[in-house]
Symmetry: C2
Amino acid sequence: MDIAAVARRAGVSTATVSRVINSSSKVRENTAAKVRAAIEELNYRPNSSARCLRSGRSNLFGIIVSDIRNPFFPDLIEHFELLATQHGIDVTIANTGYNEQRLVAAVRRFFERGIDGLAIFTSEVSNATIELLRSADVPVVFLNQPALAGDFRTVTVDYIQGFVEAIEHLRMLGHKKIGFLAGPVTQNSANRRRKAFLAAMKACDLSLRDEWIFEGDHRLTGGRFAAERLFTMRNAPTALVCSNDMMAIGFLETASRLERRVPDEVSLIGFDDLFVCEVVHPALTTLHLSRKEIATRAFYALQASRNESLEHEPAVISPYLVPRASTGSVARLKSKAG
Amino acid sequence: MDIAAVARRAGVSTATVSRVINSSSKVRENTAAKVRAAIEELNYRPNSSARCLRSGRSNLFGIIVSDIRNPFFPDLIEHFELLATQHGIDVTIANTGYNEQRLVAAVRRFFERGIDGLAIFTSEVSNATIELLRSADVPVVFLNQPALAGDFRTVTVDYIQGFVEAIEHLRMLGHKKIGFLAGPVTQNSANRRRKAFLAAMKACDLSLRDEWIFEGDHRLTGGRFAAERLFTMRNAPTALVCSNDMMAIGFLETASRLERRVPDEVSLIGFDDLFVCEVVHPALTTLHLSRKEIATRAFYALQASRNESLEHEPAVISPYLVPRASTGSVARLKSKAG
DNA sequence: TTCGCAAATGTAAAGCATTACATTTTGTGC
DNA sequence: GCACAAAATGTAATGCTTTACATTTGCGAA
């Protein structure tokens, strides 16, 4: 059941069979039909190792995420995979668990397999990794690494605009003491969010105290710790914006355990809009970030790289606020306190 | 940067280099060291297409899940991938979205890539698919397809035992009118859960009315609809066991929207123990199903197949009850009603 | 009918690692 | 120092497809 068998059966050469399979050059319709019939009858499937070895193309895209347990990423994966499959491209996935070592290992493995494109949806990207990526001649697209836009394609999120929207929303509700639950300093994507938040606060003419910035880890745990801290500090912020939903959800969980009420005691805003936001209590106000759009932009960026179409306009995604029950008027809060 | 370059640099033949890489036969330590040095210096990485083509081994396992958005599966994937990586095996993932077509397509693609093992964590498995799997000589392991245990390795969940535990728990709380929110009839795994629930009810000497069985889809939606039905029916069950957590969570969401109280008006039990169970309101009582154990058993089943070790004992996983806030005493319920 | 050109098809090399088999080296016992 | 078995290494074929280049076919014009 190799290509030679098909060729014999169809009474043509292997080259012709190959041409039919790849539609790489014209074959008379008559001949093509015979070949297709033979393929069908023998139930032939080309061996992708051989194809990849010979042609240098694998028809395989790699996608690397930092935390597959964060529902943000499965969404991203699903959209990306669907799109790729529609284009006849396979996708292979790696999860780093926020670990740079695992990222490098994954990149190596992918390169050995000769992937044709690589989407990196993680933030822990060291210089060594960048070098590694540069050395291989493979199209790469990053999420939220605008600093790399010179060398690689990028899809970035307009965090500032998103945070401004969140802060405006809180201000309308009367909040002035707004805190931020940040991601780990070791991740440059988390740092971008942090900086964007500061910039947004400045843009909104609000001042931010150092002790209103809480350090987190982008997982549930980070939110849990932050809640314990916030509810025991004096002069706590009346509203907290979180760097992602997972932490906001962890915050809610602990708040509920401590019998503290959101938004009555503190208003909370997340980031991402995971499906869980609708089912937690109270439903979480958050900034929606479209996974479909990110996946689509990333995918086409890779396709464009492959086709040497060199227009290099970085895609920018705008999040937007989805108001739910976790944010409330500061007046209500004060009346309770007083 | 092919193997010949390494061989030249180390002053040996390509065969020797290959032997060092694969530790396939003895090489004098002295020689091996030279080879390793050459590999290091040239930063050589073997081309996996060539290896796979020649050896017939790809060092690649495939894993297919039915719904990557259901947090159950990312957990499974993470554990499986971690284990595989530790054993030097790559993992490639496909998501079917409960669609049999996509399952078949994924299997085909995987076979073309010459995967060495395939873990199928989906339930929509048709006979045509079984045939396809049988025709290829690749180790396969299924989750919850005990009917296939004759032909393939399987990991199964002891649903009956799990449901008995859930029902006993409810009975202790005084419930006798217990309903079931089932998964789609088109999935045989869902059917197994349904049958197991019926068996468990019988084992507990409880009777079950037909109208207390709700049809769902194993996603949030199914739970939402079920809640709307249950809260408007007369003679509704006082407790509801769900075929999975996603539906239970959808149920909670709609209950909250309808301002109906769980467990005051109805007790709710889920299945899986997703991370969200702790953060929804009320926290969801559920049956914990260990993803780590499933992943581990499945992985070693594949490894065993590869090594021709033919002991064929199907692994059985026992879920256990995790009581949380969504189940309550029926007395409390009656006092409210009365 | 014949010529010439473009289109279609065929031939065979190449891509890179593994491995059966052949050959050389090493080490042991005398 | 020699013979011989065992261990280490080398040679070259092999896996399957793609593709550069060579050849044949088809077709319109003369």
